[in-house]
Symmetry: C3
Subunit: 271 residues, 3 copies
């Protein structure tokens, strides 16, 4: 798991809330596995995730899986084909990830692992992931809006192209998405696109630059046609400085679709 703590700034806070507040999270990860005589690994992953100000927090919905060679079957609080697709999280902005406006498929809904809730374990979530060489396929389904989603990724010469399609009964769910990214020397880049059943589209462009062994900078620009948003575009930049021992000093600032500017700064440490 990991811990992180620091400051979070938002220039459009809810009524009665300060613009600057302490932010923190502790994530305890529980991985329990065994291996059968035939070489099948059976496992379960659960988390206890405590956010700043929370108390009495227990474990989230569990993802169970069976894995053999390149084939994995998962049930419960599944990852989801879109959530697990290459290029959807090209960067991790600042200390907390901030808005995730840079995640293309976020233009609409899809099944995703819930670190604090039950996720698709409430709705018969099931998924199959198959990896062979440079090719990866991921199909997931749940009773939430009768979702069935598939994602396919192919890597070549350090680049990865991925495409995903989802069948759903909800207009607010994502219909399809595609990404393309890679790394050239110290430069990383990724472009993403997604469209929801209601016709809203999101474009994302993200880049990263390794200034030195310890210092990394990331930035993004995203455009979303969702008419509920105040702004069509969102953009931000961050830095991550490695302190060694699994600890890093991190911070980011961004202007998001709602029109708000937010920033964070602090320390994250793995254990």
């Amino acid at each position: 798991g990991y811990g992180r703590f620091g400051l979070m700034y938002n220039d459009m806070p809810a009524a009665g809330v300060s613009k600057t507040n302490i932010t923190s999270r502790l994530r305890l990860q529980i991985d329990a596995t065994t291996e059968s005589d035939a070489g099948v690994t059976f496992g379960a992953r659960a988390r206890i995730q405590q956010t700043n100000g929370g108390a009495g927090t227990g474990i989230n919905g569990v993802r169970f899986y069976a894995k053999a060679g390149g084939l994995e079957v998962g049930v419960g609080n599944i990852i989801g084909a879109f959530e697990g697709m290459d290029g959807q999280y090209p960067i991790d902005l600042g200390l907390t990830g901030l808005s995730y406006n840079y995640t293309a498929y976020g233009v609409g809904g899809a099944d995703a692992y819930s670190s604090a809730g039950a996720g698709a374990s409430l709705t018969n979530g099931v998924e199959v992931i198959y990896t062979v060489g440079d090719f990866k396929a991921h199909i997931s389904a749940s009773d939430t809006n009768s979702r069935v989603a598939g994602a396919f990724a192919y890597s070549f010469n350090g680049y990865t192209a991925a495409i995903g399609y989802q069948d759903s009964t909800a207009l607010t769910d994502t219909e399809w998405t595609a990404t393309f990214g890679g790394k050239i020397a110290q430069f990383g880049f990724n472009i993403g696109y997604a469209q929801a059943y209601n016709g809203f589209e999101r474009w994302t462009l993200a880049g990263s630059y390794d200034v030195s062994d310890a210092l990394n900078i990331e930035a993004y620009y995203a455009n979303d046609t969702n008419t509920a948003f105040a702004d069509e575009d969102s953009y931000g930049i961050d830095f991550n400085y490695d302190l060694g021992g699994g600890a890093s000093f991190r911070g980011g600032v961004e202007k998001i679709f709602t029109g708000a500017t937010q920033a964070d700064l602090g320390v994250r440490f793995n254990f």
Copy 2:
């Protein structure tokens, strides 16, 4: 602890629920103990048990105990004299145990360890267990219906006979119960009887057969005179196939007292 996941079928589901659903459970067991200079073991047992669709689940009521030689005193979320009595759980049907209609004392109420709740720790639960040679005595008490229950078991030549009596202020609690069982070569058998203060009676007959080192089959027939049930009888059969490494493939089918037919199938793994 253990994890299990698979499918559960019920031909009389609640309104709006499918007949077939994913079933899963993760049980994390926490055992904390120390030993005094005089050789007394002090300990606590607690569980975090997450069922399919659950989230935010914390630890259950704790059972504390002190143990020396054959004598054990427990308080809190106690096991209970009936729950801990030999022959009450002669089989463990299918993946999930299914109905537990084959547990004789279940004709009425009694104190039992609660894996997800507080159990008798809410009501001053306390118990004493004494084991000497082939003889075992277990007395438990709580403020729930002023229950005081005692169970006594004796083993001889591979057979075990047990009898239990409970004093209670509730008509729906179990008054007395008796079991007899054993194993002859690959065949196991058990008969059980229990009567509640309201006069309802339950008979159970359970058997098991080891087909091979890896494959085991279990079956039961039970009869309950409780007039709230649609049917007087319940019966079922299952199989357990050992996959090695603490994992097993399991499934069962049964017709229960409510008149419903239910079945499960899946994998269980210990860790």
Copy 3:
């Protein structure tokens, strides 16, 4: 963590509650830390604390910290300058601590680590602790009543003197407190004083005596001018008998400010 279980007696119980009940607590402590290349320790402390009769209990608010040499910065569910001050917990009466009437600063409110709740992580709690030689300074602050508290302690020849002051917008919060204590051979003693912004004052006098290597006796007398209390004084005595292996047999009896007499007796074990 630790476990403890035993009996608790109170001669003025709430309506419908017995005078004597089982008491128990299981505390699981989670300490996660890492150390950066520059020698800074980053860590998080959380607890799962289950009290008798509780169920579904998750982790409490987390205290995060960064520590280097004698300097420590904490955020979230902070300890608090008064709670962490020398001489505020001179004894630990009986099995459970009982009333804590012997904690001087308890005359009013102040930030303190919450073992079961969120504590000051709800209100931007932050603190700095600095230790150099025999001197210790602790400053804490939170948005709860705009509290800023400072405590300073100095140790010399086995004695420790400490003084603390708190700025707060609430009349029911503690304004200042002072303690002095030490140990002479087998005898320990401590005197404490505190005053709240509403003018209420509390004096405490506590002592301990090591009868033998295994047996220790503690006693206190406290006086509080809070007019909401039935009595102005509170007093009690206890014993702690070391059983080895981290286990101890403990009990205490006291007459508290509410006028009630309470007592406890049982076993505590560390693990």
